[in-house]
Each structure stands twice: as structure tokens, then as C-alpha cells.
């Protein structure tokens, strides 16, 4: 009996240690990134770094180098909004279909397909985007300066990549709605569609919002596939023509892309500036995740 108790306690501490490890690792990464970024912040200044749209690292000429990520923050926001704009309706629609409408036979086909989507390596998405999607977009939109590579191509690739995240979490949320809601609504004589729109989705909305926000986090942080199709130009993104929608056909460079582009060779301030880029990304993702928490908690309190 005594031994059992000792083992019990040992295992409890062991598990605590395992849980603690992830927290310690996050802290270590955060501290390391901030430390490496510090020289850049000191030299460039936070405001100059975030708002300057010019990025011109010159390894042999430090005095004339410029490190500004204004254009990249903007590009990251555009791409992420585009990916969510395309991916969220598709993902939530698919989740509703899987949870509420799909007969078993179709569910058995769609479900593994979604899981397969999550298992495809990022670089494969990038390759397909590079050799197939980009030429397609170039031929589809006859706008001067459109080369296929750009925000729209990245947004489409990212939208597909975040689908599994959104579908899985949203479907779980919809399935968690008590059957009584559904039955009660149908018993009142509503159609299936009315029940889904007026009862099921409102009841599952905190889970659906969480799914979309996690998708945003994933899209912000995704690198490899996006780097291959976005063009990585350092110019501040502007619409190609007078039509503001052509902004999505322009090229740009995101925060993650900037890190991956430079890290192979960067030294000194350039290297530190890349870590500083990472810090900005870190903070952006932290804000997005906190927002998700706040929204979910707020709605949970209202008893939605």
C-alpha cells in the first residue's frame, strides 16, 4: 500500500515535469529570440524597425543598410486575411456538412481526405503552387505586372493548408451541440437548413471562432509553401492598377519569409534584425491567440 502511494506520487511529479517542460521550452525560445533581437532593436529603434518600409541589408556596407519590416507586416496581414477569407467559409461549410448532413458513406470518404490534406508536407503545396497555380493565375487575370506569383497564390495555398485545422475543430464544436437543441428545433417545424443556421451554428459559435482563429495563427506562421509562391519582393505592396483588388496580384514578402530568406548568410545587425522579425511575429501570434481566448471566454459566460 505504501509503495503504491510512493509510485503514485512519483508519477504525479513525473507528469508535472513533462507538462512543465513545454512551458520551459516556450520560455527559453522566447528569451533566446528576444536576446538575439535586442542589438537590432537598440540600433534601429522599435519605431524605425516596424514602420520603415525599406529593407536593404548590405553585408559589406553596414552604414547604408536599412532594416524596416513595415512592408512585411502589411504583407503578412494581407496574405492571412486572404487565406482566412477563402479558407474559413470553405472549412466551416465542410464541417457543417460532415457533422450534420453527410451520410455515413460520404463521411467515410471526406474524413480521411481531410486528414490526408493535413499530412501533405508543406513543400509539396509550395511546389504545386509554383508550377501549376502561379501560371494558372497569370493566365486567368490579364493584368499588367501580374506574374501569378503573389498574395492571391499564397492565400489560396494557405487556405488549403489551414482547412484541416478549421474543419476538425469546427466539426467537433458542432457535434458537441446537445441533440436536444436540434430535436427541439426540428420539432417546431423548421427545415434542416433553418435549424443549422439559427440553432446549431449559434450554439457552436465559440468553437467555430476558435477554429478560425487557430487557422489565422497557422496561416501567419506558415513559411515554406508561402515562400515558394509569394515572390518575396521587398517592395511595399501596392495594387497593380487603379483597381484596389489587384493588390492581391502584387508580390510581397511576409515576416516568416523574411527570416527564411536571410538566415542562411546573415551576420551582425542583419542577423539580429531577422530575430527581431521573429519577435514581431511572436507578438502578433500571441495577440491573435489571446483574442481567441477572450472571445471564447466571453461567449461561454453568456451561456451561448
Amino acid at each position: 500500500m505504501k509503495l503504491t502511494y510512493a509510485v503514485d506520487r512519483t508519477i504525479r511529479y513525473l507528469l508535472l515535469g513533462m507538462a512543465g517542460a513545454s512551458v520551459v521550452i516556450v520560455l527559453l525560445i522566447a528569451v533566446f529570440t528576444f536576446m538575439e533581437a535586442l542589438p537590432a532593436f537598440r540600433e534601429i529603434g522599435l519605431i524605425g524597425f516596424i514602420f520603415n518600409p525599406v529593407w536593404h541589408p548590405l553585408p559589406d556596407d553596414p552604414a547604408n543598410s536599412e532594416y524596416g519590416i513595415g512592408g512585411m507586416i502589411y504583407a503578412s496581414v494581407i496574405v492571412t486575411l486572404g487565406a482566412i477569407g477563402l479558407g474559413a467559409p470553405l472549412g466551416v461549410g465542410c464541417a457543417v456538412f460532415l457533422a450534420e448532413i453527410a451520410p455515413d458513406a460520404i463521411h467515410k470518404i471526406v474524413r480521411p481526405a481531410v486528414e490526408l490534406l493535413a499530412g501533405i508536407p508543406s513543400v509539396v503545396y509550395g511546389l504545386v503552387g509554383m508550377v501549376w497555380l502561379a501560371p494558372l493565375l497569370r493566365d486567368l487575370f490579364k493584368v499588367p505586372g501580374n506574374q501569378g506569383f503573389g498574395f492571391l497564390a499564397s492565400a489560396i495555398v494557405l487556405a488549403v493548408m489551414i482547412l484541416p485545422t478549421i474543419i476538425n475543430i469546427a466539426e467537433d464544436a458542432i457535434r458537441a451541440v446537445p441533440p436536444a437543441y436540434r430535436e427541439g428545433s426540428l420539432a417546431l417545424g423548421t427545415t434542416r437548413w433553418q435549424t443549422i443556421v439559427n440553432v446549431i451554428i449559434p450554439a457552436a459559435r465559440s468553437g467555430i471562432v476558435a477554429a478560425v482563429i487557430l487557422g489565422i495563427g497557422r496561416a501567419l506562421g506558415e513559411t515554406m509553401a508561402m515562400v515558394m509562391v509569394i515572390g518575396n519582393s521587398t517592395e511595399f505592396p501596392v495594387p497593380l492598377t487603379a483597381n484596389p483588388l489587384t493588390l492581391f496580384l502584387a508580390r510581397g514578402r511576409t515576416l516568416t519569409g523574411n527570416i527564411v530568406m536571410g538566415l542562411n548568410y546573415a551576420a551582425g545587425t542583419h542577423r539580429s534584425a531577422l530575430f527581431a522579425t521573429g519577435v514581431v511575429l511572436f507578438v502578433m501570434i500571441m495577440v491573435v491567440n489571446s483574442l481567441a481566448r477572450i472571445i471564447v471566454r466571453q461567449w461561454a459566460r453568456k451561456g451561448a
Binding site: L3, T4, V7, T10, I11, L14, H56, P57, P59, D60, M130, V131, A134, P135, R138, P144, G145, Q147, G148, F149, V227, M228, G231, N232, S233, T234, E235, R251, R253, V260, M261, G262, N264, Y265, A266, A267, H270
Partner: protein, 307 residues
């Protein structure tokens, strides 16, 4: 209950010993994949055993450690050369580090490394600082100006190439092609190929346009070029193939022969420099690099052999 507890304890014990035991076994397997080519055979056995590997005795036993520092372009080639040399001479140890061409020349001149690597000519001011520097050209690297196969332009002048990459010529009609906008594709900032291209074509004050599509490897540049009409880029000779077309620069075709005879204008030497005439194992390695075996590896890695 007790049995489960024991099982867990055993599991934990196994985990602990596994972690403790795995550290020394992984270290030796990881070492050869890094830049350091490590000594494999213990030194005394070789001296004691006269029947062993006669070709290895060509290298003097004393001072058998070589350190190389410098150009990141030369680094992968130097690593390959070190790996093959050490395979034949197990008692030699060669460390290859990066740092850039200027750092390489400085390291050799100051004596912090026995060999400095530079993917450019050694500058006159460097030779005045280190007058006893000896330069060995181990290979050459040519950079071709390449276009999408449907671009009807066959040749450009070096100046036209500069203006196109600077974003000042933006339409193919300005250089004898169709009335189509030019898409510039380039490597990312910091890339060795880009650095050499900027140095030899762009000059000090002209920057590659921010509007370019940037890709972070030669392979991605080639794929982008092949799928994008009206595009232009630059690539190391080793990456030329049928999916793209190399144009002539100043009427000279981008071929190894033209790079070797000095007529092709975008060629850089890959140099190794030493402080004073090399001796001992350093000399043995440099001789081997400039010999048939070393030059075969140079070709294998996509560079132009000098011998």
C-alpha cells in the same frame, strides 16, 4: 497494483539509462556530417605498422591539422575536397568554416587559419596588407544570364543586363524583344551567387530592383524562370539545363571554354590563399586539389576545373 508500479519503475530506469547511453553513441555518428572531417584511425598504429596504406605516408605525421575559413561559396566545395582527402589520409584533420571571402583572406593573413577561401580575386589592398600571401586558384565559377525559353532575345550587353536587373529597362522591346514587360527573378540578399553577380555586373552603387521575384535557391530560381514567360535571372553554370535559355553576354556564349579562356565576362575565381608558401600537410592538400583527383571533384560539384 504493485506489479504496475514496478513496471513503471523499470520503464523509468530504462529511459534514464537510454538517455545516458545514447549521448556517446550519437556523437561520433554526427561528427562526420559536420564540417569537421575527424581523425578516424589512432596515429601511433600507422607509424608502427609498415604494411599499412603506402600512399598515406606521403603526408608528414607532424602538424596534420588544416583549418580553412572564408567564402560560403567555396565552403561546400572545400568540405567535399576535405572529406575525400581525409578518406585517403585518415590521420589528417581538416576544419572548414565560413565567414565570407574578406574574413577568409584576413584569417589566412593573420594566421588564425592556415588556408583562407575567397570566391573573388584577392584585392590589391589586401596584398599590400599581407605581402607574403600566396594565391591558389582551385576552380572557377561562371554565372550565366538566363531567360524563359520563349523570350526571343539571344544576347545582351553587360550594361543592358545591369539596367534590366536595376529595374531601369522594364520592357523586352527596349533590348530587341517583343513588347512585353520584363520579370526579374533573383536570389535573396546574402546569397553567394547574388553577391558575385552584383559585384561583377551591378557594381557598387546599383541595386537589384525590389520588384524582382526572390527565391532562396538556384533550383527555385530555375523553376520560377521556366514557368514564367518574359522572365530573366542569373544562375551558376552548374544549374543550366533545357528548361531555360542562357543568352550571350557581350556576344560571348556562357560556356566553360569561354569562362576558361577569359572571354566570358561573368566569371569568378574560387581561390585559396596561404600566408607564405605552404608546407607539409597544407601543401599536400593543395597539390591534391590541383591534381587530377581534386579537379574531378571540382567538376563533380558543378564548377569549372582550372587544370
Amino acid at each position: 497494483m504493485r506489479r504496475i508500479g514496478l513496471a513503471v519503475l523499470v520503464l523509468v530506469a530504462m529511459l534514464v539509462t537510454a538517455c545516458g547511453g545514447s549521448a556517446p553513441t550519437t556523437a561520433p555518428t554526427a561528427a562526420p556530417t559536420q564540417a569537421v572531417a575527424d581523425t578516424k584511425a589512432p596515429e601511433p598504429t600507422k607509424a608502427a605498422d609498415p604494411t599499412q596504406a603506402p600512399e598515406a605516408t606521403a603526408v608528414p605525421a607532424d602538424g596534420n591539422h588544416i583549418s580553412v575559413a572564408g567564402s560560403t561559396t567555396v565552403q561546400p566545395l572545400a568540405e567535399k575536397l576535405a572529406e575525400q582527402f581525409v578518406a585517403a589520409h585518415p590521420d589528417v584533420k581538416i576544419d572548414v568554416a565560413g565567414g565570407g571571402s574578406s574574413a577568409g583572406v584576413k584569417a589566412a593573413g593573420d594566421g588564425t587559419a592556415q588556408i583562407g577561401a575567397a570566391s573573388r580575386e584577392v584585392k590589391a589592398e589586401e596584398l599590400t596588407t599581407y605581402p607574403d600571401m600566396v594565391i591558389f586558384e582551385i576552380a572557377r565559377d561562371g554565372i550565366a544570364v538566363v531567360v524563359h525559353p520563349e523570350v526571343p532575345v539571344d544576347g545582351l550587353t553587360k550594361e543592358q543586363v545591369q539596367l534590366i536587373f536595376a529595374g531601369q529597362i522594364t520592357n523586352w522591346s527596349e533590348v530587341g524583344g517583343a513588347d512585353q514587360p520584363i520579370t526579374v527573378v533573383s536570389r535573396e540578399e546574402g546569397s553567394g551567387t547574388r553577391g558575385a553577380f552584383e559585384e561583377m555586373v551591378m557594381g557598387k552603387d546599383v541595386k537589384i530592383t525590389d520588384k524582382a521575384i526572390f527565391q532562396d535557391s538556384n533550383g527555385k530560381v530555375r523553376t520560377t524562370l521556366a514557368s514564367t514567360p518574359n522572365s530573366i535571372a542569373y544562375l551558376s553554370f552548374g544549374y543550366l539545363d533545357d528548361s531555360i535559355v542562357a543568352v550571350t553576354v557581350d556576344d560571348v556564349a556562357a560556356t566553360e571554354a569561354n569562362a576558361l579562356n577569359g572571354t566570358y565576362p561573368i566569371v569568378r575565381p574560387l581561390n585559396m590563399v596561404t600566408k607564405g608558401e605552404p608546407t607539409g600537410v597544407v601543401k599536400a592538400w593543395l597539390d591534391w586539389i590541383l591534381g587530377a583527383e581534386g579537379q574531378a571533384i571540382v567538376k563533380d560539384q558543378g564548377y569549372i576545373a582550372v587544370k
